[in-house]
């Protein structure tokens, strides 16, 4: 320890014309190191639990393993198979159709609720806001189980309303509407909160000015509020697009009570799960997952491209 004290201090004297800069640079480097140190825990988790599994899954997807044959390198065969596999394509088609219905419904419900709650300021509004948000706080699995009971032809309210002729919302014909209802119930409250927060951010002076100009509540809502929160709307559109294309929990939970109407390949995510953990096809399941990721990426990219003027939040 003593040597440290007696040792000459390195480069303390200003031998060079730009000592301040070099000191600043050194300080900058130290700060950089500290920054990295703070970042390290996240970086480790990110690499170990996200990047590494992704790379491994991609590696898996390049091989193929039949039950009666050994493992072999297959290159992109699994991907060609995926994009010609009717089970996968039907699943993609299902979630695309589903998105076209569910997303507008969800957003309309959320937008209407947010606009109403934004104009009403009473204790009741605060209570309603909480109540609309509550479904999101319920885990999706439990929500699906509850809906399973509500849809039940033996216990459900539909049976009590309509008697024996009650529609079974999980039958092959009604499945689409059954899912639409569950998903809207689950997510509309969450989107409502996002829209509501955006509405709260608007300066009330704008409304005042509009009122002076003679605008009514409806005009304020459609001509001022909605355009001013358009970037929040784009944000939730992207959220719901990604969420719907990856539709998984509800079909998975409701399958056992659907009398066979929900198949193992109803959505690409459910298909990938079943391929891997039930049918022992991990390689093909990895390929399906990446193919789905590709579809989602294309979908979101196209969407953002079409709405590029509004989608400022991603730039």
């Amino acid at each position: 320890m003593a040597t440290l004290d007696t040792a000459p201090r390195p480069q303390a004297p200003a031998a060079h014309p730009a000592p301040a800069r070099s000191r600043r640079r050194r300080r900058g480097r130290t700060q950089g190191l500290i920054g990295w140190a703070f970042l390290a825990p996240f970086a480790v988790v990110f690499l170990v639990f996200l990047v590494a599994p992704l790379l491994y899954a991609f590696y898996l997807s390049l091989f193929s393993k039949g039950l009666a044959t050994g493992e072999r390198f297959a290159g992109l065969d699994n991907y060609t198979r995926a994009f010609t596999d009717p089970a996968f394509l039907n699943g993609v088609w299902f979630v695309v159709r589903f998105s076209l219905v569910v997303i507008p419904v969800q957003i309309l419900v959320a937008l209407a609720a947010a606009l109403v709650l934004d104009s009403v300021t009473s204790r009741f509004a605060r209570f309603s806001r909480l109540m609309i948000f509550v479904p999101y706080a319920i885990p999706a699995v439990i929500g699906a189980v509850i809906w399973g009971f509500l849809y039940s032809p033996n216990f459900g309210p539909l049976e009590q309303l309509f008697g024996d002729g009650a529609p079974f919302l999980l039958s092959p014909d009604n499945l689409f509407y059954g899912f639409t209802n569950v998903v809207t119930w689950q997510w509309a409250g969450y989107y409502m909160i996002i829209i509501y927060a955006a509405l709260q951010g608007i300066d009330p002076a704008v409304y005042e000015a509009a009122r002076i100009d003679g605008a009514g509540s409806w005009q304020i809502a459609t001509r001022i509020k909605i355009p001013m929160i358009s970037s929040a709307l784009i944000l939730i559109l992207v959220f719901s697009l990604i969420g719907t294309l990856q539709f998984f929990t509800e079909p998975q939970v409701l399958t056992p009570i659907s009398n066979g109407a929900i198949s193992t390949d109803i959505t690409p995510n459910v298909y990938a799960f079943n391929l891997a953990f039930r049918f022992a096809q991990f390689n093909y399941a990895s390929a399906i997952s990446f193919a789905l990721g590709f579809v989602v990426f294309i979908g979101v990219y196209v969407f953002l491209f079409l709405t590029r003027k509004r989608g400022g939040f991603l730039k």
């Binding site: 009666a68 216990f155 056992p256 009398n259 198949s263 953990f277 039930r278 049918f279 022992a280």
Partner: protein, 452 residues
């Protein structure tokens, strides 16, 4: 701030501990050193003995393992309940694919044995003394766990099929238990005409009993020998199978049977309420229904059991649904020790008796099947009927065994879709089987099988 830091540290510690726990499972717990006694559901008393890890889900497994550990000084069992049926298979499948993490001994339903033996996940027990216990079981039970000369599991319980029925419904509408499928249909028509409940149920979610009913009519959907694992014969759309499926499709079309998924709250509620006059099921079904709350309160005294209706009463055929075996996994470091556990774990009289008296299982061990106590047992659920003697024992003894699909999970999933299509009125039984045949042939070829 301090508290939050502490929480974070504890949280991280928990994550690390659970990761370490996962790592600890890698050895399969075969040798005494690697098996952590703290992870066993029943404490191991004789810590110096080697330990074999077991996955099993029977409700009375605790008693069984306690009995085993108590009576064995040479080996101890570390038992884990890794989930019932599909949950456990998903876990086991993952361990098999990963090549690590499987237990030494695993409980499997009989029809899942070829699925895992094909992936070389199970050990052939012929080299480990399986022939010594062969005599404890009936020929059909042994055939179920064998493939060619190889034996992949030790039977525990079986599911000889029979027809459970509601005595209250039968009495009210003046119906006697049908002995043939023609009479079964006639009874259904009589019930419908009189405004009575459904005759039975044709569920999509459990195709296994439907396969059994096809076999009852002489169908042999899968021909397969593990000695030559890439050769396979698929015959799902034989005339015998088509007759059976068209028959059930007709019952569904005419509204004589329901299409409700089984093992669901809705089905149980309907069964207890008397919505179905019969339940075509196996010997374990009374125990299952009792556990689900049937046969109690207002439902008490409503149930009885009769032999399964036949196609040809002159040549009755017995079939099986369900039942389980204990198999040794190829990840077991000491297969000999594991095989010993598989053969002795559910074989002592105390465990077997506990199994059948609590109505959990229908044992296949001859020591029980031939015991007077078992034969003369008056079932409480069937209001004192000697169901074992009258129905289940003859069915179990007449059962000749079957060959199950080597990719049962995929097959059942596909069959579920076909039955759902029948129930939705989109296909006839024959059409569904033709489609199923084509799909299974395509799948088998894709998986590298040679079709004969």
């Amino acid at each position: 701030m301090k508290n939050r830091l502490l929480t974070a540290v504890i949280g991280a510690g928990t994550v690390m501990a659970s990761l370490a726990a996962c790592g600890g499972g890698d050895g399969g717990g075969g040798d005494a050193a690697s098996a952590d006694a703290g992870n066993c559901s029943v404490p191991i008393t004789k810590t110096e003995a080697p330990v074999v890890s077991v996955w099993a889900w029977y409700p009375n497994m605790k008693t069984v393992v306690e009995n085993f550990n108590e009576s064995h000084d040479d080996v101890q069992v570390c038992w884990t309940n890794a989930g019932q049926g599909a949950d456990q298979y998903a876990r086991f499948q993952t361990a098999v694919s990963a090549g690590t993490g499987a237990p030494d001994v695993v409980m499997l339903e009989t029809d899942m044995v070829p699925v895992f033996s094909l992936q070389e996940a199970l050990v052939d027990l012929t080299g480990y003394g399986a022939s010594e216990v062969e005599g404890n079981f009936g020929a059909g039970a042994w055939e179920d766990v064998s493939s060619g000369d190889a034996v992949y599991g030790i039977p525990i319980d079986g599911g000889p099929m029979a027809m459970m029925y509601r005595t209250d419904v039968f009495e009210q509408y003046g119906i006697t238990p049908p002995t043939t499928w023609d009479e079964y249909r006639a009874a259904g028509e009589a019930l419908k005409a009189a405004g009575g409940p459904l005759m039975g149920d044709f569920p999509a979610n459990v195709p296994a009993p439907t396969v059994a009913l096809m076999q009852q009519n002489g169908a042999e959907p899968w021909v397969y020998d593990s000695a030559d694992p890439t050769q396979l014969e698929i015959d799902l759309n034989s005339p015998e199978s088509k007759e059976v499926l068209d028959y059930w499709a007709g019952l569904v079309r005419d509204g004589l049977v329901g299409t409700q998924d089984q093992f669901t709250t809705d089905y149980i509620a309907g069964a207890i309420r008397g919505d179905y006059a019969t339940y075509i099921s196996a010997a374990w079904a009374p125990g299952y229904l009792t556990g689900a709350g049937a046969g109690e309160g207002e439902d008490a005294g409503n149930w009885a059991v009769a032999p399964l209706p036949q196609w040809d009463p002159a040549n009755p055929v017995s079939v099986n649904w369900g039942g389980s075996v204990l198999a040794v996994t190829s990840q077991a470091p000491e297969p000999e020790l594991a095989a010993q556990v598989a053969m002795e774990l559910y074989a002592d009289d105390a465990s077997l008796t506990d199994g059948w008296t609590s109505q959990t299982i229908f044992p296949l061990n001859q020591s029980v099947l031939s015991s007077q106590e078992f034969i003369d047992n008056e079932s409480e659920f069937f209001s004192g009927q000697t169901a074992n003697k009258d129905v289940y024992i003859p069915a179990a003894e007449a059962y000749e065994g079957s060959t199950y699909s080597p990719f049962g999970t995929t097959f059942y999933a596909q069959f579920t879709e076909e039955i759902a299509a029948i129930n939705a009125g989109e296909k006839t039984g024959s059409e569904a089987l033709d489609d199923l045949q084509a799909e299974m042939e395509e799948y088998a070829t894709q998986q590298g099988f040679t079709l004969n």
